[in-house]
């Protein structure tokens, strides 16, 4: 089996299109995961048992079922209830929802790490509840959990090929399509793998820098 450079060159534009889809799904999915995770965390602190118990079970359920099941549900089941999402949209929502249950745990740990004295100082200054969260607790909590949050960004990125399962032609999907077309899989699958590695390595380096920044500031 020989590596065909000519073929490889022709593949690149299509694979870059796939990569664009992957990166889009990653970033948007991650934004949802960051925001929704925070919502879960705050709701879990609600004094109302109905609220915090419900949130607890929902997040537990989402976390303990496979991502692919959730994607199938969003893309194939919801339409029968009249909710139709585009494949990419369903993929982004699925990734965001799935990972929000992990980021929620990360936020929770970060918030519990903020010393009690910080809450007490905020009370002594009489800061309004919202300001205590926005000005004192969350900035300190998030700073503590930047590394963990970053790891979930990379994990989410590596889970994007599941979107191929609901017809999204992301990076791996476009490689697979190329292979199926020419019956030559070596080059497209290898290049797709290399793209994944390249993005992961660059992101990891960027995260290291971010961590360092937070460690020293």
């Amino acid at each position: 089996m020989n590596w065909d450079w000519n073929y490889t060159g022709k593949l690149i534009p299509d694979l870059l299109d796939g990569l664009r889809v992957t990166v889009t799904a990653t970033l948007l999915g991650y934004l949802i995961a960051l925001a929704l995770g925070l919502v879960w965390t705050l709701l879990r602190r609600s004094p109302n048992p109905l609220v915090h118990q419900t949130v607890r079970w929902v997040t537990e359920f989402v976390r303990s079922t496979p991502l692919l099941v959730q994607l199938f549900f969003l893309f194939y089941v919801l339409p029968s209830w009249g909710i139709t999402l585009g494949a990419l949209t369903a993929g982004i929502v699925g990734l965001g929802l799935h990972y929000s249950t992990y980021t929620a745990e990360v936020y929770r740990a970060g918030i519990e790490d903020v010393p009690r004295g910080q809450w007490e100082a905020a009370t002594a200054l009489n800061l309004p509840r919202r300001r205590v969260w926005a000005g004192v607790v969350l900035p300190q909590a998030v700073r503590r959990v930047v590394p963990s949050l970053g790891n979930y960004l990379i994990a989410l990125f590596k889970d994007t090929p599941f979107l191929f399962g609901i017809t999204v032609t992301e990076l791996l999907g476009s490689a697979f399509d190329e292979g199926a077309h020419t019956l030559k899989y070596l080059e497209p699958i290898t290049v797709a793998g290399l793209f994944f590695i390249a993005v992961s390595v660059v992101s990891s380096l960027a995260l290291r820098r971010l961590e360092k920044h937070y460690a020293t500031h």
Binding site: P115, Q118, E120, A124, L125, N126, L127, P128, G135, H217
Partner: protein, 292 residues
């Protein structure tokens, strides 16, 4: 002395503002002006338990407006709990606490005292400031932001006004050159001076000092104590202080209360308490503290 004698409010201290009606201006009605009028403090039959442990047992005492009172006694005797109840960090299990004329944890409704909501607590807290043993500065903000956060978000000052006030206070505590520094870059003594400035920026009428020098290296204690002496001299803020530094207690206090097991067992001017204590337990405590 029977404990009932301790319930009468302290005499106003000569030369200091008397406990006045003005101090009791209704929460929210008086704005910044009422916040500056000194307030007295009254504990009426206050009970605080942690589980089965009764920390304060039907405690009665009063502090006059502008008075400086130091609480001494063995650890676990309830001194810090008193400050924490006043700062609304702990909720009493019984009794009534008043700051000025108004109940702290209750509201009067139809002549009866009912449990107050967060809104009332928010108004009452404007009268009270606290400095903690561990400083508790916000590490995600620089020194200046630590000082402007409350004035901007609670008192409604503009950012410029808050910055001007903060700079004045940093000048007072001798840290004018540190406004951009982050708290973690400061020594313990500097952090505590910033914390004192942060409390003063809210212009409280009652200042609670909870073992403010206990976490400091010995050589840094004096600077913080000198600052507090200055503040005691130059303001009419009511001060309630928990400390194990007896020299400092003697300098700063109008009156010293000796606690043991959630009760006041002896009280008087510092000269009397430190030189001629009546109670054997007070003598034993002072011996132990001075020996350490």
């Amino acid at each position: 002395m029977p404990p009932t004698d301790l319930t009468s409010p302290a005499e106003p201290v000569p030369g200091k503002a008397a406990p006045g009606k003005a101090a009791g201006a209704l929460p929210g009605g008086g704005g910044a002006a009422s916040a500056r009028t000194p307030c007295g403090i009254t504990f009426e039959q206050v009970v605080k338990r942690f589980g089965d442990n009764v920390v304060l047992d039907h405690l009665d005492f009063a502090v006059g407006a502008g008075e400086r009172v130091t609480l001494i006694g063995p650890s676990g005797s309830g001194k810090t709990t008193i400050l924490r109840l006043l700062m609304t960090l702990e909720r009493p299990d019984g009794g009534v606490i008043r700051v000025g004329d108004d109940p702290l944890w209750h509201m009067e409704r139809g002549g009866k005292l009912v449990k107050a909501g967060e809104k009332h607590l928010h108004e009452m807290r404007k009268r009270i400031g606290m400095v903690f043993q561990q400083f508790n500065l916000f590490p995600n903000m620089n020194v200046l932001r630590n000082l402007t956060e409350g004035p901007v978000h609670v008192l409604g000052l503009s950012r410029d006004e808050a910055v001007e006030r903060a700079r004045g206070l940093l000048e007072l505590v001798g840290l004018a050159d540190k406004e951009d520094a982050h708290p973690t870059r400061l020594s313990g003594g500097q952090q505590q001076r910033v914390a004192i400035a942060r409390a003063l920026a809210m212009e409280p009428t009652v200042l609670l000092l909870d073992e403010v020098t206990s976490a400091l290296d010995p050589e840094l204690v004096v600077g913080v104590q000198d600052l507090l002496r200055d503040i005691a001299r130059s303001t009419d803020v009511t001060m309630l202080c928990v400390t194990h530094e007896m020299g400092f207690a003697r300098d700063i206090s109008d009156r010293v209360l000796m606690f043991d097991q959630g009760r006041i067992i002896e009280e008087g001017p510092p000269g009397t308490i430190f030189e001629e204590p009546r109670e054997e337990r007070t003598r034993a405590f002072l011996r132990a503290v001075l020996a350490s």
